[in-house]
C-alpha cells in the first residue's frame, strides 16, 4: 500500500471504483509526478458476493450453476472445474464424448474471451476501430456458442457426470465455417497489432515484465506466458479432453504489452486448430454417466486453465449432498502483483492498458475479504463478531 507519510505532497490519481476505464469496480491509486507514475496501490472487494458461502447452502447440482456465475466471461471453465472436482470426489469419470464437448466449449469460450479482451485493450489504448471490429467478429463465436448450448453467456453445458448437449454433424459444419472466418480475422488482427505504428507506440516496451519477475509475482495465464513462463494447465496437468487432444503451448519472451497481444491472438489460432481437431475425432460414447446425489466425504483440488490463467478449485465434501467448503482462486488475483509492481516508472496514459493487459475480472477475484482489527487475531472472526462489525459499518 502506498500510504507513505514522508511524501505528503504527492499527486494521487484515483482510478475507480467508478471510472470509464474499468467496467467493473476496483480501486487503484496512482501517485504521479507529472505524467510519470511513481507508486501504485490496489483496493479490491467492491463486488464480493459471498458465492463460496452460498455454495455451502446448496446441493452439488445447484452449486455448479452458482459457480458458473462467478464470472460472466469465463463461466464454462468455472462449472467445468467444479464438475471435474465433484466427479473426482464421487469416483465418477464423465464419458469421453462429454469431455470432448466440454473442451470444445471451453476453447470457444477462450476465443470469445480473448476477442473481448482484444477489443477492451484496444479501447483502453484509444483504438476504437479495432475494438469495434474485434467485437463484431466476436459475435461469430457467441452465435456458435448459442447454437451449441442455447445461450450466449452462462452456457450451462455441464452436468455433474457429463454434458447436456451433443454436437451434431450439422453443428460441427457450422462451427467449422465460423472458425474459418475467425482464423482469417485473427490473422489480420495479429498483423494489425504487430505492424500498426500508432498502436505499437502504445504497446511495444510498455509494462515489460521479465521471466524472473513474472515468476516472482506469481503471474499466471497469458500474462505469464507472454513473459516466457511455461505455465499452462492444459499442457502440464491435462484435464477433461486435453489428455486425448493435446494443446500446444503458446509462448513469447518479450514480456511487454505487445507480447500479451501476440500470445493471446496466437492462442486463439491454437484454439481454432484444437476445435477442428476434436470435431474431426469425436469419440462416440454416451453423454452422461450416473452421478450419486450424495458425494462421499473427502477433499479434492481441481485445476483448469481459464482464458485468464490457472483457475483453482478446492472442494470439501462431508458425505451429504451439499459441499462443506468450496474455495475458488481466480487467475486475476494472481496477476495483480505484476500490475502493481511494474506500474511505477510508466506514463499515466499507459496505466489503463497495463491494467487491461492482464485481462482483469474484478467480480471473479473479489472472493476473500480480510478485515483488520487491532485488538484480536485478524484471522479469527466469529459469526457474532462479523455481524457486529457489519452493523457498526453500515450504521
Amino acid at each position: 500500500m502506498s500510504e507513505t507519510p514522508e511524501t505528503p505532497q504527492k499527486f494521487v490519481v484515483p482510478i475507480g471504483p467508478q471510472h470509464p476505464a474499468l467496467k467493473e469496480p476496483g480501486h487503484f491509486e496512482f501517485s504521479v509526478d507529472g505524467e510519470i507514475v511513481t507508486g501504485a496501490s490496489v483496493r479490491l472487494g467492491y463486488v464480493h458476493r459471498g458465492i463460496e458461502k452460498g455454495a455451502e447452502n446448496r446441493n452439488y447440482a445447484q452449486a455448479m450453476y452458482l459457480m458458473e456465475r462467478v464470472c460472466g466471461i469465463c463461466s464454462h471453465v468455472h462449472a467445468t472445474a467444479f464438475a471435474l472436482g465433484t466427479e473426482k470426489l464421487a469416483g465418477v469419470t464423465a464419458p469421453a464424448r462429454a469431455q470432448a464437448i466440454r473442451t470444445i466449449v471451453a476453447e470457444l469460450e477462450r476465443l470469445h474471451s480473448h476477442m473481448l479482451w482484444l477489443g477492451v485493450a484496444a479501447h483502453e489504448g484509444g483504438f476504437d476501430t479495432l475494438f469495434m471490429y474485434s467485437w463484431r467478429d466476436r459475435e461469430t463465436v457467441m452465435d456458435l456458442l448459442e447454437a451449441i448450448t442455447g445461450n450466449r453467456v452462462n452456457y450451462s453445458v455441464n452436468l455433474l457426470g457429463g454434458v447436456k448437449v451433443d454436437i451434431t454433424p450439422e453443428l460441427a459444419d457450422q462451427i467449422r465455417k465460423g472458425l474459418d472466418f475467425l482464423e482469417e480475422r485473427n490473422q489480420h488482427y495479429l498483423k494489425v497489432v504487430t505492424t500498426d505504428e500508432t498502436f505499437l507506440g502504445r504497446t511495444q516496451g510498455v509494462g515489460t515484465m521479465t521471466k524472473e519477475q513474472a515468476f516472482l509475482t506469481g503471474a499466471v495465464g497469458p500474462t505469464a506466458r507472454a513473459s516466457g513462463v511455461e505455465i499452462d494447465i492444459r499442457v502440464h496437468a491435462p484435464y477433461a479432453g486435453y489428455p486425448d487432444f493435446p494443446v500446444n503451448l503458446v509462448i513469447d519472451t518479450a514480456g511487454d504489452l505487445l507480447a500479451r497481444f501476440v500470445v493471446r491472438i496466437k492462442e486463439m489460432q491454437e484454439s481454432c486448430r484444437l476445435i477442428r481437431h476434436i470435431l474431426d475425432h469425436m469419440p462416440e460414447t454416451e453423454l452422461t454417466v450416473r452421478m450419486p446425489r450424495r458425494i462421499p466425504a473427502g477433499e479434492t483440488i481441481s485445476r483448469v486453465e481459464a482464458p485468464r490463467g490457472e483457475l483453482f478449485y478446492f472442494i470439501k465434501s462431508n458425505g451429504t449432498d451439499q459441499p462443506e467448503r468450496v474455495k475458488v482462486r481466480t487467475p486475476t488475483l494472481c496477476n495483480w502483483g505484476s500490475v502493481i509492481n511494474f506500474a511505477p516508472g510508466h506514463k499515466l496514459a499507459d496505466m489503463p492498458m497495463i491494467l487491461a493487459g492482464i485481462d482483469p475480472c474484478f467480480s471473479c477475484n473479489d472472493r476473500l475479504i480480510s478485515i483488520r482489527r487491532n485488538e484480536q487475531d485478524p484471522q479469527l472472526w466469529s459469526w457474532e463478531d462479523l455481524r457486529q462489525y457489519g452493523v457498526q459499518y453500515y450504521k
Binding site: R58, N59, A61, Q62, A63, M64, Y65, L66, E68, R69, T129, L130, Y133, R136, E139, D143, E146, A147, I148, T149, G150, N151, N154, S156, L159, K164, V165, H188, K191, V192, T195, D196, E197, T198, F199, L200
Partner: protein, 147 residues
C-alpha cells in the same frame, strides 16, 4: 511497420451495410436450442420433485393437489429462473421443456412472472386454496415455504 493497418477494413465498411442488428425492429430467428420459457405437461408428471430439488434458483414449485391421482400443479417464477435447464435434464418423464421461441419475457409488473401450469380445475383449486389461506391477498411470489 505501417501506418493505419486497418485502412482496408474501414474503407470496405464504408460501402457495406452496418453489422448492427436493429433488434426490436428486425428479429433473427432464435436458435433451435435456445432456452426460453419453461413448459410443463401435467399429464406425464409423477410428482418426483427432482426438478424442484435441483433448481438453483428456486424457480419451480410443484404443488400437490392429489398425490394418489397424480394431480400436480407447477408454479413457475420466470423472474427467478436462470434458464439453465437442469430441471429438463432431471425430468425422467419428459414433462418439462424449454420453448426456444418464447424468450422475450420482460414485463412491467410482477404478475406475469408467476405462471401456473396444470389442468384447469387443478390450477383453480390451488388458487382457491391460496386465497383461503391468505384472505388479505398477499403476494404469491414469496419464496416457497418448503425450501
Amino acid at each position: 511497420m505501417t501506418i493505419g493497418a486497418m485502412i482496408g477494413d474501414i474503407l470496405r465498411s464504408l460501402f457495406k451495410k452496418p453489422i448492427t442488428e436493429r433488434y426490436p425492429f428486425e428479429r433473427k430467428p432464435a436458435p433451435e436450442r435456445l432456452r426460453g420459457k419453461l413448459h410443463y405437461d401435467p399429464e406425464k408428471c409423477t410428482g418426483c420433485m427432482l426438478c424442484m430439488k435441483d433448481c438453483p434458483a428456486n424457480a419451480i414449485e410443484i404443488l400437490t393437489v392429489d398425490r394418489a391421482a397424480k394431480k400436480f400443479v407447477m408454479r413457475f417464477h420466470t423472474d427467478r429462473c436462470t434458464y439453465c435447464a437442469q430441471c429438463v435434464q432431471n425430468c425422467r418423464f419428459n414433462c418439462l421443456g424449454m420453448e426456444s421461441e418464447e424468450y422475450e419475457l420482460a414485463a412491467l409488473s410482477r404478475e406475469p412472472f408467476v405462471v401456473y401450469y396444470g389442468r384447469e380445475e387443478d390450477v383453480q383449486f390451488i388458487l382457491d386454496r391460496a386465497a383461503q389461506e391468505n384472505p388479505d391477498g398477499t403476494d404469491p411470489c414469496q419464496p416457497p415455504a418448503a425450501a
